[in-house]
Symmetry: C2
């Protein structure tokens, strides 16, 4: 089930993976939903929720009463775990806060950059059968730390019209302003353009199914989005010091997400490769989600044998994995070899689920090789920058010839005029001043 392959074999497989555009039918459905929500607002939302979530709602918003009742439905262990996670996530993300800055120059120029939070943010939280309270914490806490004024959650209701109590408890712990009972592409459209009940936001974050992902791509530009997320991935680089039971458990944990998840181990040790393969068989039988895991491992599970760690890191950088575990001797010494990865987990006691829930760094990470150009979600995703430019008379006059030359070279003569007119007036003033002396 878990195929053992060579480095060259892997690179060959990788080359054949063509990134592609979504199929046209999906796009048509998504565009139709967006268009309906823009035209018919709340009516469209009630209709789609009935169609896709199987419930006709009376209101799109979670009430105070529902929030209170939910907190009674979760147990105390869960609340404690939530608080533990919240504390670590908060502490880590506080270190990401950026400051406005400015530099005064001797000639009176002031240049700088002002940091301002995005005012309104929408967080999509998948729902239906499963519930993801950790998604709530990981998206809401950095937004709150950034200073976002209004944070809304959109999450599809269960068939009984309610929202999973674990999600509500997490929303309460993280401090959310509004929870909407809507899901799918219709939720993304509502957050992007607003309806009577749903406030338009400046940015939409959070994971979702193919409809959600595609809708985010379509509204991108009218509103900011975090990323177009793909299936989840793990890559474990292991040498002979790795514990095969642990490595197997970590590969299996990634594979349970869905049938498209990738669990890859790159190792310098053939005996370790065998041991991991055996451990996977042993542990798999005991796992609830073994049917998903089997398919996932058959599709994308690989153990790749390499000659040395240099070869391993070469593959890692091509792969740009979402999660990278370094189960090797002195893993910190090899960190500089990693150019492309969402998160790096060092050693036998830093398994990926630790990062999913409780270590503190964000679990929203770039998937499908996008770590080549993108970053984990962070406080920086919920602020924007504004440049500050202040020149006085003399500083502008000193710069005027350069600006006029460059503007003329670009054929933008009205740009040159904006500088020239100040220069001329200044020249006139100088003459006048001289005369009076």
């Amino acid at each position: 089930m878990m195929r053992v392959i060579t480095r060259d074999h892997y690179l060959g497989e990788r080359l054949m993976q063509q990134v592609g555009f979504a199929d046209k039918e999906l796009d048509q459905s998504v565009l139709e939903i967006i268009s309906q929500v823009r035209q018919n607002g709340d009516d469209a939302l009630y209709d789609y929720t009935e169609k896709f979530d199987g419930v006709r709602l009376d209101t799109l918003t979670v009430t105070e009463k529902e929030l209170r009742e939910a907190s009674k439905l979760v147990n105390q262990d869960f609340i404690l775990a939530l608080d533990h996670a919240k504390e670590n996530i908060t502490r880590f993300h506080e270190a990401q806060k950026e400051q406005s800055w400015s530099i005064y120059h001797d000639d009176g120029r002031l240049l700088g950059q002002q940091i301002t939070p995005i005012e309104k943010v929408g967080v999509y939280v998948p729902g239906g059968k499963a519930a993801y309270p950790s998604t709530v914490l990981m998206n809401v806490i950095p937004a709150r730390l950034a200073g976002v004024k209004q944070i809304s959650i959109a999450t599809p209701p269960q068939a009984d019209g309610k929202i999973n109590p674990h999600v509500l408890a997490a929303a309460h712990a993280a401090g959310v302003d509004m929870i909407y009972k809507i899901g799918g592409a219709q939720a993304i459209a509502a957050l992007a353009y607003g309806t009577k009940s749903i406030g338009k936001v400046g940015k939409i974050v959070g994971p979702g199914n193919a409809y959600v992902a595609r809708a985010k791509k379509w509204v991108f530009g009218d509103v900011a989005i975090d990323m177009v997320a793909g299936p989840s991935e793990i890559c474990i680089v292991a040498d002979e010091t790795a514990n095969p039971r642990y490595a197997a458990a970590d590969l299996l944990s990634q594979a349970e997400h869905d049938e498209q998840a990738s669990s890859i181990c790159i190792t310098t040790s053939e005996s370790l490769a065998r041991a991991i393969k055996e451990e996977i068989e042993v542990q798999l039988g005991k796992l609830d989600r073994r049917e998903i895991i089997k398919k996932s491992l058959a599709n994308n599970g690989r153990i790749i044998i390499v000659g040395d760690l240099n070869e391993a890191f070469e593959l890692v950088n091509v792969m740009a994995p979402e999660h990278l575990q370094l189960m090797i001797q002195n893993p910190a010494d090899s960190m500089h070899m990693v150019k492309n990865a969402g998160a790096i987990f060092l050693g036998n006691y830093s398994p990926e689920p630790l990062g999913d829930y409780a270590a503190g760094p964000n679990h929203t990470l770039p998937t499908s090789g996008t770590a080549i150009f993108s970053s984990p979600l962070g406080v920086y995703d919920f602020v924007k920058k504004t440049s500050i430019i202040q020149y006085g008379k003399n500083a502008l006059l000193s710069a005027s010839d350069s600006i006029i030359t460059l503007a003329n070279a670009e054929g933008l003569t009205a740009h040159a005029n904006s500088i020239q007119i100040r220069k001329d007036e200044q020249d006139a003033a100088t003459v006048y001043h001289t005369k009076n002396n």
Copy 2:
């Protein structure tokens, strides 16, 4: 030509502007071009260049010889202006460099964030009739400072198959690795997916026409992009201390970009409004690009009269202008009122063209109200972050109950298993250890 309106009138107009999806014909053309480039590589690039730029090229790459010859075709003033701009842009962007960081905790946990440059970046530079050397500097310098290893420029050739010498001189000054003679959607496709001659990049930045903008939106996700840029805008907030000649010149300079550009002045002074209107008529007659300017002002030029500065800044934050000039008394005192703007220019001697060319901050700014959620281009756009997580045995055991509880609440039992298996082994070891005492 320049309409004077009230605050309420402006808000009414603004509400009616529906952000929309591109027309289907444009999308079909762009998707066809992308698909042809992916299928036929260089052949498609040669064909499209012949079709759209009117020249059949022998090679897609600018040669060393062309670069040398170009430097002889620009004059010394231009080189000096380029160097002046380069120095200021470099100094400003150096202040944006971010550092990797990590925090050790007492219990042995190590958490942090590693900063790595994107390895390969493509810069699109519009060409054809106009030439934009400033675009080269503003995109290449921050990429270089971020540590990007390979920076390529794509720019459409002139009808004689050459690239404008000012663009080449700027590319030489900024330090570019490769210049491709391709433009339009085909250039974006080639940079996103690679061909025999064109190297695939991790991120594409730079402005362009509707085809370029749309192609960037389509390849987004497979590759990073800077933004989907719209027409350029200026908003001037002016009180009775503003110089109407300067304000008029600055509004005119923005209007010359194209017929969709927006030049808006918000003022508390009716007499200033009249004076600016008159100055616009006076200066317009002398400007080369007056036909474009007239249309632009008729479409989107507005002078809005407000009661006080609070009302002015309320409008500014709705508008979220790309360029904001504060031509008011003590402008620095009002900066905190600005929530949404690409760049703020303070006082009578900080006109917008100063920022376009020479002040130092980037001229690639969020347009069309996207300053609500996005930032000027900067060094931060050319790096990405990787989270670092290292836990030791004890730290993981302390956290294990929380993680297991949260994983089980989400139904991800293989995640719980990854922690449990380490906990069990540890418990076994503890028992064993106790027995031996």
